[in-house]
C-alpha cells in the first residue's frame, strides 16, 4: 500500500483516478456472440455454452426436480442465514414504495405519478467458482416487490450442468421459476433479443466478468436498458483516532480480495492510524485463502494522510467511492457531508460486508466515479414512474391562455389549437 502524506490540492484529482479499463479489444468478439445469438437463437447459445463453459446442455431450463433437489442439498444453517438476509433486504426495499398522491396544480388541473413495474426483467447471476446467490437476493427482492410480471434469471451451470443449490434456493424463496443455465455474453444476448427458449426482456440487471460487462454495454447502446455501468469494486475508508486499526484493515482486505483490480483507499488525519492499519494489513493478509489477489490489489492501493478530516471527506466526495466507511468519532456529522458515494457505513461496527450480504441495503452500486451521477440499484430500478393528468372544463379555462401563449411563442400553432378548440367549444 502506497502511503501519501499531505497531498497538495492540485494533486487530488490524480489520486482519484481509476485504472483505465479498455474493453475495445473485446468488443469485436462480444459483438460476434451477440449477432450469432440474435440470428441463430438457441443453437448459438448451445454452441457458445459448449465452447466457453465446456458444458453440453440439451435443455437450458432448470427443472422442478432441480429446484427440489437444491432445497434438500442446501445446509440448514445457510438456509437460515439466507432467510435472515432476505427479511432485512425486503424490509428496507419495501420502505422505498411510493404512494400515488394527486396534486391539484391549479383549480381543475390534477396531476399524479404512479410507479408501474417494468414488465419483463432479466437478472444475470455469476456462477462458476463464486456463485453469487447474494446478488440474486439483491436483484430479485426489489423485482418481486415492484411486481415485475416476468422475472427471469440467467446463470452459468458448472461442468456437470448443475446450478449451485444456494442460487436455486433463493430463486425458489422469491418464487422465480424461470432460471436458464446460460452464462457469459450469450446470456446477455438471450435477454436482449430472445431465443426460442428465452424470452426477451426490457431491462437487464447484474454483474459479471469482462465479457458480460462488455455485452451489457453493447446492447445498452441501442436495444436495451441496463442497471448501471459496471467497473471494479471499490472501498474508501475515512478513519480517525477513534477507529480500531484491526477492523479497518479487515475491511480494506474484504475489498482487496475481490480481484486484482479492486480499489482500496484509506484516508486519515492521523499518521499513527495509517501506520497501525498498514501493520495490521500485513499480518491479516497472509492468512487469507485469496492472499495473492489481495496483495496484488493492495499494490495499487493508497493510504492518504490529510491535515484534517474535513479535507478527508472533501477528497472522498471527489473520489466518489462505491463503498465509503466512516470510522470516525463524528461519523454521523461527516455522513451529512457525503455528496458522492454508493453506500455508506458508519462507525466501528459496520463492516462493508454487512451491507454486501444482509444489513438491508442493496449491494449493486455505482463504481468508477459513477456515484457522482448514478444511484445504486433500488426499488426505483424496477419501476417506471408514469405521470398522469386530468383537466376539467374549468381547468382548461384556467390554464388555457398560458398554454396558448407559450405554444405560440415557440412557433407551435397546432399545440395552441389543441387548447383553443376546447376553449371555443366549452364554457367554464
Amino acid at each position: 500500500m502506497q502511503v501519501i502524506k499531505y497531498p497538495l490540492k492540485s494533486e487530488w484529482q490524480k489520486l482519484t483516478e481509476r485504472p483505465i479499463i479498455d474493453n475495445s479489444n473485446l468488443e469485436e468478439k462480444v459483438q460476434y456472440v451477440l449477432d450469432e445469438v440474435k440470428s441463430n437463437g438457441d443453437a448459438a447459445i448451445k454452441r457458445f455454452t459448449l465452447e466457453f463453459d465446456r458444458v453440453e446442455l440439451e435443455n437450458f431450463m432448470v427443472s422442478e426436480q432441480e429446484f427440489s433437489d437444491a432445497e434438500i442439498q442446501i445446509e440448514p444453517d445457510l438456509k437460515e442465514a439466507i432467510d435472515t438476509a432476505y427479511a432485512n433486504i425486503k424490509k428496507f426495499h419495501i420502505a422505498q414504495k411510493e404512494t400515488t398522491r394527486k396534486i391539484e396544480t391549479m383549480p381543475g388541473v390534477e396531476c399524479w405519478r404512479t410507479s408501474v413495474p417494468i414488465e419483463k426483467v432479466g437478472l444475470y447471476i455469476p456462477g462458476g467458482t463464486a456463485p453469487l446467490f447474494s446478488t440474486l437476493l439483491m436483484l430479485g427482492i426489489p423485482a418481486v416487490i415492484a411486481g415485475c410480471k416476468e422475472i427471469s434469471i440467467c446463470t452459468p451451470a458448472d461442468k456437470q450442468g448443475k446450478i449451485n443449490p444456494a442460487i436455486l434456493y433463493v430463486a425458489k424463496l422469491l418464487r422465480i421459476t424461470t432460471v436458464y443455465k446460460i452464462g457469459g455474453a450469450q446470456a446477455i444476448a438471450a435477454f436482449a433479443y430472445g431465443t426460442e427458449t428465452v424470452s426477451k426482456v426490457y431491462k437487464i440487471f447484474g454483474p459479471g466478468n469482462q465479457y458480460v460487462t462488455c455485452a451489457k454495454q453493447l446492447v445498452a447502446k441501442k436495444d436495451m436498458a441496463i442497471d448501471i455501468p459496471a467497473g471494479p469494486s471499490e472501498l474508501l475508508v475515512l478513519a480517525d483516532g477513534s477507529c480500531v486499526p484491526a477492523f479497518v484493515a479487515a475491511d480494506l482486505l474484504s475489498q482487496a480480495e475481490h480481484g486484482i483490480d479492486s480499489q482500496v483507499i484509506l484516508v486519515s488525519d492521523s499518521e499513527k492510524i495509517i501506520s497501525e492499519v498498514v501493520k495490521e494489513l500485513n499480518q491479516q493478509v497472509s492468512v487469507l485463502p485469496r492472499t495473492e489477489i489481495a496483495l496484488k490489489a493492495l499494490e495499487n492501493s493508497k493510504a492518504i494522510l490529510f491535515n484534517t478530516l474535513q479535507d478527508g471527506i472533501t477528497f472522498a466526495n471527489q473520489y466518489a467511492p462505491e463503498h465509503l466507511i466512516i470510522a470516525c468519532e463524528k461519523d454521523e456529522e461527516l455522513a451529512e457531508q457525503v455528496i458522492n458515494a454508493g453506500s455508506v457505513f458508519l462507525g466501528n461496527y459496520t463492516p462493508e460486508s454487512a451491507g454486501d450480504y444482509a444489513s438491508g441495503t442493496n449491494h449493486t452500486l455505482p463504481t468508477n466515479g459513477y456515484a457522482k451521477a448514478y444511484s445504486g440499484v433500488s426499488l426505483d430500478s424496477f419501476v417506471k414512474k408514469i405521470t398522469f393528468q386530468k383537466i376539467s372544463k374549468e381547468g382548461i379555462h384556467n390554464i388555457g391562455k398560458t398554454v396558448e401563449l407559450m405554444a405560440d411563442k415557440e412557433g407551435l400553432r397546432a399545440h395552441k389549437n389543441a387548447v383553443s378548440i376546447r376553449l371555443k367549444n366549452t364554457t367554464k
Copy 2:
C-alpha cells in the same frame, strides 16, 4: 393517415414498430467534433460555432446586461404565462421530494436512504427557429428543487449572437446565471469534457437535433450520464364514442407538427369515430403554418380499429407511447391498466399540449418504446439516492453469523473476517 381495421394479434407487433433511425453515418462526424473540443477546448468551440451556426463569438457567456435586456424585451403576457407554468411545474415536482426514513431492519441495524443532488448538471436547450424555453422550465425547475450546485445551460445564439429573451427570462427566474452560447454537438462536448470557459458536468439533459442526440449517445458510452435516450416525439390517442373528434384531431396534429418523423396513432373501438377524426384532420391541417410537416407526419401515421377498448389499451401498452391520451368515457378505469407510457392525459379536456407546457408534469419523456423500461425526467433525475447504514455492537452480534456464513459460502473469506474480528473483540 392509414386506416387499419381489426388487425390480427399476430400483426400487432409490426404495427408498434417505429421507423429505424440510423445515426451511424453521423457518428464519425460527431466523434470528430467531440475529439476536437476535448483536445482544443474553447478554440474548437469557436471554430465549430462559426462553421455550423455562422456566428463569430468572442465570449460564450451571457452577460448580466443581456439578462437585464431580456427581461425588458419579453412581453408582459408571455412573462405571466411563464410564471403560471413555473408555479404549476414547481408544485408537481416539489411533491416528488422524498424524506429520509430510518429503517431498523433488525435490532441494532439501522439503514436509510438520502436523496443527494447531483453536483454539476448541464442543460441543453435548443435555440434557433424554435427556442424551447418550455424545456428550460422542465429541466431547470427540478434541478433547482433538487439543489444541484452548479447548473449550466448551453443554447445556440442566433445570427446576431443573441439568445432568445424568453430563455434568458426563464434562466433568471430559476437563478441560473451560467448560460453559454453554444449549440450542437460542440455543446455536448463542452459539458462532457469541459473547456477553459465551460465547466465539465456530471450529467447532461435536454433534447436536440440529430447531432446533439448522437453526441449525447457517444459521450454516454463512456464518460457521462445522460437523461434518457432520445427519439422522435409520439402520441397515441385511445378514443371511444364519448370523444370529441375535433379535439382528437387537434391533438393528433399538435404531435404531427413537431417533425416529419413524428409518430401519431389513433386507436378506437368505433369506426364512426375514426372516420370523423380523419375528416377533422383534413380540415384542420390545411390552416396550420406547418401544414407540410404535419401532412408528411400523418402519412406515416395510423388509425387502428379494434373490436374492444380492452384490445385498444393492450395494444397501447405494447406500443409504449411517449404520450397517451385516453379520450374515453371510462378514462380513469383504463388509466389503471396503463403499463407502458411516458405521460398520460385523461378525458376530453386534457390536451397533450397542456402537459407540454404548463399542467405541472414533465415533458421530457421516453420515446421509441423506451417507456417499457424508462421513466420521464423528474426530480429523481437530478439526485442520487445514497444508502447509509449504522450497526451497533448489539447489531453486529445479531447479524454477524448470517454475514459470516454467506461470505464463507461465496468463498470470500476476508468478507467473513471483517465480521469475525468485530465479534471476537466485542460483547453484545
